[in-house]
Amino acid sequence: MGQFASVTNLTMPEIVALVVQSVKDTTLALSDLNVIIQGLTPRSSDAPPPTYADLALAVPAAILAAESDSTFIFNGLFPTITLPSSSQDAGVVLGYNANGNIQLLITQITVDLINWGIQIPGDDVALIAACIQGQVDNSDLTPSTTYGQVNIADSNQLDEVLGWVASFGVFRTGYNPDGTINHAVIYSFCAAVGVPEVVTI
């Protein structure tokens, strides 16, 4: 999929530096990053976000927007599951390629879940990764959010599930000499285990 620059093992200035280093067309990148910031900032916010003209400010703002969005959506979709503040990963996927190697994404999700004390079978992680990658690959530069839940078969409480949310926005980092475009992805991923809301109408 690309190279993960995650807040779990890098500082924000380090992530920003990596993004700035990879961006060859600042105007293009800022245009897409502002779309991501405006698209992913939860609408419950007091005021819509400003338009950024500096990559060093836009990148953290976009990551924060993705984090805010995934938390907001998680709490709306899984109101009975408590999302610990620590159970959230965010950052940038550099050198993103559609239909790229999914193993990098599987590894990142696996590491996240281990960090959060969540154990699910590898097949389930692969399904989550496939879902996220499919949504990112098809997003056509539209910032978006996706979600899912996985039954926790080995849990003491049989009704427990893993609920997860991923917010993302693909942005263009510049053109190659042959005219092709390079991309990166702003992302946030969060997950927690609990008893899901049961709805019967």
Binding site: G39, G134, E197
Partner: protein, 173 residues
Amino acid sequence: MNNVESTTSGQSAISSRSSLSDKPRIPLAEAVSRAENWRNLVVNLPAENTSDGSGTNKAIDVSKQRIFRAININIADVKDLMEDHPQAKSIRLYLSLQDPDYPYQITGMLVPVDVNNHDMLTKKSVSEGLMSESEIVNSASDSTIYDFTQPCPALCDTASPLFNSTNSLENYI
């Protein structure tokens, strides 16, 4: 009007005791086409007449990244609304903008609608004498206008053929 359900539109608004299978439905292929028509309309949406008085319409700069495509509504929230308003006949979704300076943050406002097609907007009424009109219209807790929808973007299924007509049907049929 006793026991007569008043409706103002055509077949799709007719409410009877028919089963869901009797309701008007759209073939997937036509739905894909309709969704594409909407996206094409939005990206070519004319702005208000220009201020130079020429009356010439200019297109709003709506990039494909910003096309308002859909509104996601939680089933659980709909259930809660139904329980709070058992007398409601339907739910009306109003489109809204929280801030006109940010025209891409379109949101939905859900309103229960009674059997006479009247929006049910507040829990209290002035006639009860407990609250003034000003207090009622400015009270969120006494409002029955709900704000629990999520627009797409950002809550989308980007792989859906309704999101993009070039997307594969493979996982949906």
